[in-house]
């Protein structure tokens, strides 16, 4: 976790901030070149070129304004303490075990990474994976029940015999297998999100910078608008959605897991000493403990499945909506989800 945060921090302090000044220099150079062409155009008797160049100079000036605007936005994005407001909205889990570092005053990327990291390594996905593996091992090492009845004791080859073997893995193994398969896929979806979040700052910096330069020229204006929308969508909207949605999921999950043990205890022993005594003496404690544990684990698995399936979908839909509408405002309409489905 700390290594990831450090690498993002190192990256943010060097190449990320360098992109906008470079873009600004490029835009200034373009203006100089355009000005030279503007001055030379009347000398060769090409007033049409002069007219076109003047429009391009206005476009470049507008692009410089946009570069300054996006540069300030980028600086704010990297320095703004997103973690504070999200904590006020109860969207950051603060009760954490020792050894995990919460990004106090963390920016958007650090907060999103923290939330996703917590969900995968300490939260719902990690615990579900742990509980299911535990159950799987327990089911496979026992208990094994084998029943054999022979008509003539000790002689199996003559008479009547009935034999049935029972192991919990035979009965419940297939269900656990379904959930295990699903969890494996959910890990893949989650890793995909890690990759996107890790790449978000560079996508924002490069795509927006390239888009702002591309917008200067008439033939690449729509392409530039699409790049800007894609950069802002993946570089800003996506981490924002991840930090909000996974922050909520982590907070909700912490409450769910905190209620788990009391639930199992209440089901096993009841709410009083008398009920505990009755449960133990009548032998109901064990089946009740097993049943309530199964219900609780399936409940947690359902929660994890929802968080791992619905949240990426929701986040992608919002990013797609943003990119689609924002790209149309800046240039060409770009369908992000169609782009993804075409590739996949």
């Amino acid at each position: 976790m700390q290594e990831c945060v450090n690498s993002i921090n190192n990256f943010l302090t060097a190449p990320y901030t360098a992109w906008f000044p470079i873009t600004l220099i490029a835009a200034t150079l373009i203006i100089v070149i355009l000005a030279v062409v503007y001055l030379l155009a009347p000398l060769v008797g090409r007033d049409d070129i002069k007219r076109n160049i003047s429009i391009m100079i206005y476009q470049t000036l507008f692009s410089i304004v946009l570069i300054l605007g996006f540069g300030m936005f980028a600086t704010w994005l990297c320095s703004f303490n997103v973690e504070g407001p999200l904590q006020n909205l109860n969207l950051i889990l603060v009760n954490i075990p020792p050894g995990v570092h919460i990004p106090y005053g963390g920016n958007l990327y650090e907060t999103a990474l923290y939330d996703l990291y917590w969900f995968t390594n300490y939260g719902a996905l990690a615990n579900t994976n742990f509980f299911l593996s535990l159950i799987y091992y327990l089911l496979n090492i026992g208990p094994q029940l084998s029943l054999e009845i022979n008509f003539i004791p000790g002689v199996q080859t003559l008479g009547f015999s009935a034999k049935g073997s029972f192991s919990l893995s035979n009965v419940l193994g297939s269900y656990i297998g379904y959930i295990n398969d699903a969890i494996s896929w959910l890990f893949i979806v989650n890793d995909l999100q890690f990759i996107i979040i890790s790449a978000a700052p560079i996508i924002f910096a490069i795509f927006v910078s390239m888009g702002l330069i591309a917008r200067i020229f008439g033939f690449s204006r729509s392409f530039g608008g699409s790049l800007i929308a894609l950069g802002v969508g993946i570089g800003f909207v996506y981490p924002l959605m991840v930090s909000i949605t996974y922050g909520f999921i982590n907070v909700a999950y912490s409450q769910l897991i905190a209620n788990m043990l009391p639930n199992v205890a209440a089901n096993t022993f009841g709410a009083s000493i008398q009920s505990a005594l009755v449960s133990l003496l009548t032998g109901k404690a064990l089946p009740n403990a097993i049943l309530s544990s199964i219900y609780d684990i399936i409940n947690i698995a359902g929660f994890t499945a929802t968080a791992s399936l619905i949240l990426p979908l929701l986040n992608f839909i919002v990013v797609n909506t943003f990119v689609l509408d924002f790209s149309q405002a800046f240039g060409e309409r770009l369908d992000f989800m169609s782009l993804l489905t075409s590739i996949i």
Partner: protein, 372 residues
Amino acid sequence: MIKRIILLVILATLILARTSYAQTQTLPDPCNSLYSGALQSTFGALSTASTYKGLIGYSMLIILSVLMIVAFLYAIGMAFKINSLISFSRNEILENVLNFILILFVAGGIAGIDGVVIGIAQFGASVVSTNQPSITNTASLYHSACEYYYGDALGEISNLISLAVEIFEISIASSIQFNLMPNGFGVIFKPFAWLNLISKMAGSFSVPIVAITGIELVNVYLLAIIYYIFPLFLYLGILFRTFPWTRAIGGALLGLFISFYVFYPALIYAISSITASSSMQTFAQSTIANLASGLNANFFTSALTSSINPGLSVSSVLSNSIIAYVETIAIGGINTIGILISLVICFDLIEAFGDLLGAPSLTHGGVLKKVI
């Protein structure tokens, strides 16, 4: 003597406990913690309040700020005779008036959702006798839908456990065999080997039950995500709709909010009111039983009884098992289909709101198609 006294004390305690304590199993219930206020609200008062008074205040503040900027631009346009700026400012003033009306509509609509849902519930109750709890506000609407689907998911898990036990019993019965091998060579007769067929069939029924359980559990937590996170889309939608560059995005976010925060739980509640009613469940069971008896008489009795093992009534056991499993799956399936129908309607509603609010990303975008 001491041992006897200890035993007597234990016995007395046991009798006392048995008479005073009726053991009831309390299953884990996440719905209570999600909607009873134990989990702190995410986006201010919006996600817990049922009247949404705060919405109008925040929205008015945003619109007023934008109107001031637009008025300033209009003044500059008038002062310097810039026609394009004047025209732009006028358009923006009209757009903000439209936003104001939209906010009133949305706020009024959400505030009135309680009435709408109660109306739906009363309508449902007039058609079928339902045992759903009454709805008093938005939180209770979400809570009720959550409880219903969570309860049904737990019921499906019980079905899975009983199915597993049944498979175990069948596997023991099917292993009964008669051996006649005096010198290590002879015959083995397994009269109940045919029960393996039922065991395999019962095993195959577990797949749809697992799927139904999964869909219902996902729906439980999907409702929670909608309840706690989607109000953000309302705030952002109103904010984005006030600026010309982000107007389409604002419309899209509002469309998402209205479709899923307002309509989805109402639809889920309405459908579950009907499917949870005793009359509907009785009707479904009797329909399946009638169809099954026809099958039993025509197909199984004539074909299987005579061909496999007439002496053991294979056909009746097999068909009865199929009827029992189909009934179990059908009841869960009705609820699952209710979820799918609600989702399809909501995705269609998103497109309708996309048209209404000028969001090109949602207009005829086939959002459902993309999701699938």
